[in-house]
Symmetry: C2
Subunit: 664 residues, 2 copies
């Protein structure tokens, strides 16, 4: 039974990979319009490749170091699983980005030559390549390693590899993209006075690269990481607790992939020409197919229906969190409009209002995670929590597809503008772009919610592993002072990490600003448009800086984890994990939602409200948006990954902590 | 033994009250200079009285409602204790403010006629009245109620009364002061173009009143509340756990009062004319006397020295947190300077930098609280945590004295400017004012740290009470899904509360802005200075609005507590308390420290750095400061009180929750 499930999961996931490759070819065979489009696309591609080359080189050295540590302390198979995890996630990210960079120019071309429906389909299927590859490669890795070793704990190392890659891709990409964004704006728009996305700006390509690096590759790696972590947590818990259904997570994930494929191929812009509704429809179809198929399988196989209940708790929670995020950050809702209105009283009131609404947005999402985990627990214990996390993430193939659609059409819009396509085409790409916003907001909420359930499951995994090794039941009582000390330190670590990342963006932006100013000064004819800027140099600065600013906070976060573990012992480490989870979710949601609100309230004013572009309200809203940028695109979304990494480190080192900690 | 300690505590505390009244008279007998000074002082006094009258009226109805509930569910003695607690704190606040309003004009006069030393002494002793009355009335209430009933649990209601008053005084005062501040600036400085503190501005008196209402009465009520709560938590824990030293908290508090008196009377500006050093000296003397006297008493009475150790853990933690706050927010340190430097790149970077440093400032303080409670626990169990909280707060008589000095000299400075005293006098009051900043920063950190240890002790109190009633040991295991649900909801409540309070400031400011504009339009000759504005109307609007904006968030916070308790049961309530404590401390520190940083970085620029007043950097710093104002003076400091209120509610209702909750 175990073997059959693992092998069918492997087969389904490999089919998913093949389907991804097929769509990759399908996108590639579409034509690229003018030479100008080709040229811009080429520059973005070069920049993105430069970033990835550098990132993967540094990552390689880093990974070899971790690999060596794992090999020494936990054995060779752990080290190998770690590397396979990192590489699988890297491949998914790499191919996903490659296709995004093909799809953007082809979407612009199709909008010009063939109309909305075709342009939409190219963009969406471009995104689907990432979706299918992420779930395919992730599940293939998990199921093959399990089929070979039949030891779920080896999978912890596989998951750890994916997490470390995700930390680099998400946080590093986040620093990169905001560095480029802020400095391109500050020098280009403010100092020199040229429009946004003007090809004379040396940072413009870095800015375009950033969207792909942060939003495509970063989000893909983030969800790869959560997806794997949830499956692994469930399998390790299942084995440690002696649940018969150890392979249930593999079955759920397999059904999720099939459902996503059904969803992906049902997405099409129909007569009403509404791309947003098409994306939503895909998600509904996927969820419905998933819910029904799992129910039917449960009935046929006579599984206890409580497992299905736990799975549905996760699916419902994911939806609630997604809609909360949309409600708080959508341009059509009251919170965004009120924030925009507050901009009339200046930047300070804009900041205070958006921040306050961000604080208010936490309760429904966090209560949703709490209730889902409570229901799942009531049905099938801690294993149920893990199952609900797996189910929430099972449909991630579809979720990523509509999310990656966003940056592709965003890029297509920029390319249409830069290559001088007609007004009609630009407004069509605008319509395509607007449709991406809701799915983007929902995905962010979804990613945080899924990470929440996953890390709660990982906390349980840690607890059960410790119990299994020591032979004692272990509780993390709030009133145990070591647990409380752990909690108090734990809530500080995501704060410290996000602070250092945000300061890193500023520092890095200063370096890049100096370079942009230098080019405008030293390259003759640049301002007049007769000479070309050195795009590659800006990309290089953003890349090197981003990776540099990422290293210290990552090492500090892992260092504090090890300190707490080996001084405070297993109880302090349990409290620390709990604190990091609570604070991580709190700050991730706060930053994402406030940032989203400021972004959209600026757009709302630009659409003509409260005086429109150039008004005082607009100036205030721009300041809000600039504060929100590193909030929502750098610090906030990195926190998911950070808490997953910390949780996996805790589970991995638990055998050593039990032996060597100062306090036992 | 119990009786003797309680009665000596009562005697010492009544002596403290008498000494406070003596200093009240001492301050009052000093002369008030010109009629102009008298007139301004009169207007501020009227406004402050108007606020307090209104506040106490609303509070009375609110208290009667709570009283009735307490009488029905917990018995008459609880209801009486509640009212005594609220009234004692109200009297301390009322008299403390009355003397502050006498001391401010007399300090200005003394600066004019008698020089720095005398002016300093009047201001400091004015602050000491509040210090002595707070500790005197608080300890008198606790020790007398205990001497009469010998039942520590009745004291929970006394403490609850003080907390509810503190919530109104601190949060209501905080909304009041920022409403006045923001609207006076927005209309006066920005729209009409008159200087700050100009008597033509209808909101100028409300602004002066706000400093007293928020910083004097509010801070006094806040520390009254924490002081009482720590003593009560220790006594209830001592009794529930069967510790022999139930009255130890009373002994520590008595020694603390004596030490504070020694400290207060040793404060004097000596030859070097450094008021800041004089204040610091008083705190050192008090701490040293406290540490030595408690050691000597422990040795004489042959108490186990572990109690003394726990007491010192609290004292040391208080100092660490105070200095961390100072380090992060002092105008002489790197973080403030770097934030000021960031202002050169605009408002957004100012906000991001200050916020990031605020996030970084959490770790030392929270780790300090964690280590102190850990050490205290290791020495004498949960009772030790409560003892360390009591000791940290024992010297609060001295702490309040130097803190209340701040707004007095701030007011004296404003009065000197408004009544046209000489440049030399103004610069003298400036020097006095600058000395208050460090103690103010330290007090804020101190107040949060003390609240932290106190609420951890209150969590223990809740746990032990539940255990005592049910007869079972109870643990709040992080992996119990009800505890986790409680934690997840708990961390949202301080966020929701502070968000609503901050939005309340904006709403209230809009009402007041409308009134100021109306006065400038309708009162002929106001802009020219030939007619007088209607100060009282502005005070009334700020008052009514502040109390209105406070009610909803307070009711929601208490309502959620009751919901979690009666649906989720004792485990969910325990988790909820834990979550509220963690999030309360996190956000209180973050907001206080970021706010302090923005405030001082603006001052740093105004002192001439990065282009000085009027430069672009200054404009950006002003936006940072305006964001920081409600952070540090409204939302941040209210959170201490909020979490104390929630914790006391939990302990009070625990017998009912055990009986009636949906989940047991």
């Amino acid at each position: 039974m175990e073997m059959i499930s693992a092998i069918s999961a492997a087969v389904i996931s490999l089919l998913s990979v093949l389907l991804g490759i097929y769509l990759f070819k399908w996108v590639s065979k579409h034509p690229v319009g003018s030479d100008r489009i080709r040229e811009i696309g080429e520059a973005i591609r070069e920049g993105a490749n430069a970033f990835l080359r550098k990132e993967y080189t540094i990552l390689m050295f880093f990974s070899i170091a971790i690999c060596a540590l794992l090999a020494i302390f936990l054995g060779l198979s752990s080290a190998i699983a770690f590397i396979v995890g990192a590489i699988s996630s890297a491949i998914a990210g790499l191919l996903g980005m490659k296709v995004a960079l093909k799809a953007n120019v082809r979407t612009a071309t199709a909008a010009d030559k063939e109309g909305l429906s075709k342009a939409f389909l190219i963009a969406f299927r471009g995104g689907s390549v990432m979706g299918l590859l992420v779930v395919g490669l992730a599940l293939a890795g998990v199921s093959l390693i399990y089929a070979i070793t039949l030891k779920p704990e080896i999978l912890l190392s596989f998951s750890f590899g994916a997490s470390i890659l995700s930390l680099f891709a998400k946080a590093g990409g986040g620093i990169f993209t905001k560095t480029a964004d802020i400095s391109a704006d500050l020098v280009g728009k403010v100092e020199i006075g040229i429009p946004e996305d003007d090809p004379r700006n040396p940072a413009v390509i870095a800015d375009n690269v950033g969207d792909n690096v942060g939003d495509v590759a970063g989000m893909g790696a983030d969800l790869f990481d959560s997806y794997v972590a949830s499956i692994v947590a469930a399998m390790v818990l299942g084995q440690t607790l002696g649940v018969k259904m150890v392979v249930l997570p593999l079955i759920l994930a397999s059904v999720g992939i099939v459902s996503s494929v059904v969803g992906i191929f049902s997405v099409r812009v129909r007569r009403e020409k509404n791309p947003g509704r098409a994306l939503d429809f895909g998600t509904y179809i996927t969820s419905a197919v998933f819910a029904l198929t799992t129910l039917v399988i449960s009935l046929i196989m006579s599984y206890d229906l409580k497992y299905w209940g736990a799975a549905m708790a996760g699916l419902v929670a994911g939806t609630v969190i997604g809609f909360t995020t949309d409600y708080f950050t959508s341009i059509d809702r009251r919170f965004v409009k009120k924030t925009a209105q507050a901009s009339q009283s200046g930047a300070a009131i804009t900041i205070l209002t958006g921040y306050s609404y961000g604080l208010m947005s936490l309760l429904p999402s966090l209560a949703g995670i709490g209730v889902a985990s409570g229901v799942a627990f009531a049905l099938c214990g801690v294993f149920g929590i893990a199952i609900s996390a797996v189910s929430m993430l099972a449909i991630v193939g579809m979720v990523i597809s509509s999310d990656a659609y966003g940056p592709i059409v965003d890029n297509a819009k920029g390319i249409s503008e830069q290559s001088g396509l007609s007004e009609e085409v630009i407004s069509m790409t605008d319509k395509l772009d607007a449709a991406g916003n809701t799915s983007k907001a929902i995905t962010k909420g979804f990613a945080i919610g899924a990470a929440g359930l996953t890390v709660i499951a990982l906390l349980a995994t840690y607890q059960e592993r410790v119990a299994a090794i020591t032979g004692f039941t272990i509780t993390f009582d709030l009133m145990n002072p070591l647990v409380m000390l752990g909690l108090l330190i734990g809530i500080c670590v995501p704060a410290l990490f996000s602070a250092m990342i945000m300061l890193g963006v500023s520092k890095n932006a200063f370096r890049m600003i100096a370079e942009i100013r230098r080019q405008f000064k030293e390259i003759k004819g640049l301002s007049e448009g007769t000479a070309k800027p050195n795009y590659a140099r800006c990309v290089e600065i953003a890349t090197t800086g981003a990776l540099k600013e990422l290293m210290l906070p990552s090492l500090i976060a892992i260092g504090i984890t090890l300190l707490v573990a080996f001084i405070g012992g297993i109880h302090a480490l349990g409290g620390f994990l709990g604190g990091a989870i609570l604070s991580g979710l709190f700050n991730a949601l706060l930053m994402s939602n406030s940032g989203g609100m400021w972004d959209n309230s600026k757009k709302f004013i630009e659409d003509g409200a409260f005086g429109g572009k150039g008004s005082d309200a607009h100036k205030a809203a721009v300041i809000g948006d600039t504060v929100g940028d590193p909030f929502k695109d750098t610090a906030g979304p990195s926190l998911n990954t950070l808490i997953t990494v910390i949780s996996l480190v805790a589970s991995l080192i638990s055998p050593l902590v039990i032996l060597y900690a100062v306090f036992k």
